[in-house]
Symmetry: C2
Subunit: 426 residues, 2 copies
């Protein structure tokens, strides 16, 4: 890792220089052995362990500055690197060491009538820029996922975490050096100048993809400005549809978990759709459970006919990702109405049906256009670890390239490989 002091030169030349360096080493990284990449990550984990007092000290500087800037307690909490979080950071790196290396994998070589054999090889994307907020552990996670998948990475953390991020970056630099990998494989932007982001997202010659990690404001700002492709995560307005053929017990279990397990994550259900024939029984059981969990209910007129004491859900409610203990409920005629509601108000993130009907399950799977579509399972499962990706850099609501949780494979692409023996095309 190269930490250049940006103070003396203008920000766009500085960022451009990082891009040139990243592009320069990207070919070397693409051909780096799994052993070298793993050695770098394992050594980084050791250094994070060994240098924890320095990391904590740097983090205290950020925390103190944050308090002076009156950051909210929630932000200060996200910023803090406790001993447990430092352990988790090192452990996360070791888990990435244990994951299979996707680079170089060839899916299948088909023999063609011309005599050539054709397949697709998984290869790194090239140069990835990660733009993130507050949590300093992202510095280690994101660098590790990019490195393991053979990409050069440029990291731009939040200004409030700059000292913590640079302390973690020192450990990564040590890991790279041990493994004989180029220092520029992982570069951290060390200026807090906001123009650095503006320059970064337009450098399509040097950056292949941008992954923003943070709130909706950050992601919208970056998407609006970027000329480089963005793997983005927008809203998670997730639905559970309880079909008329649902098993009521499964419906209650899934619908409760989808909201109440954790309401602040993107896979949390925001709207519950219930088929009219089963609405009385299912909502009758669910309503007291939600209330007991402190969840405010808002409903359509048909819902309020069953639960008269709840508030009216407005048009705005159907379009809202609450990320809060609030749930909107709509009673619908059946499958078609539910799918229509999701098409109009959903965000293409994660939607589930609860049903015992095979044909309704299949129709829901075929017709709901979301990054994850579930049958009889809680939307809270929308997560890279739960899906077996090992680790995730985020969840994509894009349609192209990668949808849903993004693991190592999402940070790679495929190229065709063709083998002949002096073979020519007639």
């Amino acid at each position: 890792m190269t930490i250049t002091t940006a103070g003396t030169i203008d920000v766009s030349s500085y960022v451009r220089d990082l891009g040139i360096r990243a592009r320069r080493v990207s070919r070397e990284l693409a051909a780096a052995s799994t052993a070298a990449k793993n050695a770098a990550l394992a050594r980084t984990a050791e250094l994070i362990d060994a240098n924890r007092s320095d990391i904590v000290k740097a983090n205290r500087v950020d925390l103190e500055a944050g308090r002076q800037k009156n950051l909210t307690p929630a932000l200060l909490d996200r910023l803090e690197l406790t001993e447990a979080r430092i352990d988790a950071m090192a452990e996360g790196l070791r888990q990435i060491v244990a994951l299979p290396d996707p680079v170089g994998e060839i899916d299948a070589l088909r023999q063609r009538p011309s005599g050539i054999r054709v397949g697709r090889m998984r290869v790194p994307i090239g140069v990835i820029a990660i733009i993130y907020e507050s949590r300093p552990n992202v510095t280690a996670d994101a660098a590790a996922l990019c490195l393991k998948s053979g990409n050069a990475v440029i990291l731009r953390g939040g200004s409030e975490a700059i000292h913590s991020n640079l302390a973690v970056a020192e450990c990564i630099a040590g890991g790279l050096a041990t493994a004989g990998l180029p220092a520029d494989a992982v570069q951290v932007i060390d200026t807090t100048d906001r123009n650095a982001v503006g320059a970064l997202v337009k450098m399509s010659d040097y950056v292949d993809v941008i992954v923003p990690r943070g709130g909706k404001g950050l992601i919208e700002r970056i998407s609006a400005e970027a000329t480089v492709p963005v793997i983005k995560h927008l809203d998670g307005i997730c639905h559970v549809y309880v079909d008329e053929h649902a098993d009521p017990d499964k419906a209650v279990t899934v619908a409760f978990n989808a909201k109440a397990r954790r309401y602040g994550i993107c896979g949390a259900m925001e709207t519950l759709l219930v088929a009219e024939p089963v609405a009385g029984r299912v909502l009758g059981e669910l309503a007291p459970k939600y209330r007991e969990a402190g969840i405010e209910l808002r409903g359509c007129e048909r819902t309020r006919a069953l639960l008269p004491d709840i508030a009216v859900a407005s048009e705005e409610d159907w379009r809202t990702e609450y990320l809060a203990p609030i749930l909107s409920i709509r009673v619908v005629d059946g499958l078609d109405a539910a799918i229509d509601h999701i098409a109009i108000y959903g965000s293409g993130h994660t939607d589930a049906i609860v049903t015992e009907s095979v044909s309704n399950a299949n129709a829901f799977l075929a017709r709901v256009d979301s990054s994850s579509v579930m049958v009889n399972a809680s939307t809270q499962f929308a997560d890279g670890f739960e899906y077996g990706l090992g680790a995730e850099i985020g969840i994509s609501t894009n349609k192209l390239h990668v949808r849903g949780p993004v693991g190592l494979e999402g940070l790679t692409t495929q190229k065709y490989v063709v083998f002949g023996d002096g073979t020519i095309r007639p």
Copy 2:
């Protein structure tokens, strides 16, 4: 298919209306059965056969207008729909009927410790816009590939082919009607107003991806303006590198075919790189063959030491996609120098090595970052039919989503599917 006359309303509302219609039917198409899609395509092929005199008549109107506008003979040739080309158009549709439907395929369902099963289902992208020039057969090909892959499509052909395109579109409309598929599945922009393209490429609410098919000028103009993702094909500056461990006979065979079979296609070799130790022998055999085929040679100083009567290759030559009977030749020290040359001057399209060395072949495969990388095979193989895709809508030089020849699979994406049995996340 809906053919709306745009004359009376402003172009951007007209195009927006097409987008709204396409988006509206895209869900129905995504769930359409393979049988229905095939029936529509088969009937379209029949109608193209049956209505060939109408198609030829419409084509004559375009040809006459083209002659009056002094189109070049090459353009008039591309525009012409001969009987043989009409046969080929119908046959192309029947071939797409015979291809497997990628939609709905689930790659593998893995059982997770939580009890859920997780896999990825192949699904249509949604709404695709194809912008193309002159060749009216693209109307049938592109519509068929988009329909078979379950996408709604908006077609914008060249103004010089408008009558031919609309005549083909009538046949597609008949095919859709027979199969009971929505008319708006395939819409042809019937205005020749150039602002239609500007509006189309910015409609990210209604169009998911743009596929331009045509010259570099068209593609660059669209890429510069588009806010919708573009599957683009830029330069094909393809290289063959003859390694010092090459079998000289294979080298001569491959390097000759890569240029001389057809020099006007994107997979044609533009620069030949030869390792110094074998340059004398290989170029000594190749030069007279190229000359006999009417191919002009331009070389670096080391090449000219071997072939003194050829012109000097300038810096500009290394960066040029000739698409003409011209070849630039460079003698290099070996593998590393060849890979460096390709990284600097190549366009990431198709590059080949000729070698008997397994380790040099592997290094070339790992380190050359192109959409197709070949060993001992001619770059002319870079083609969807040759790769076994059945048909292609173009060749992508993008890194994300799809690289190389784009067939039905490239017009789809994947979403996660999750199956539980009332399963909740702990």
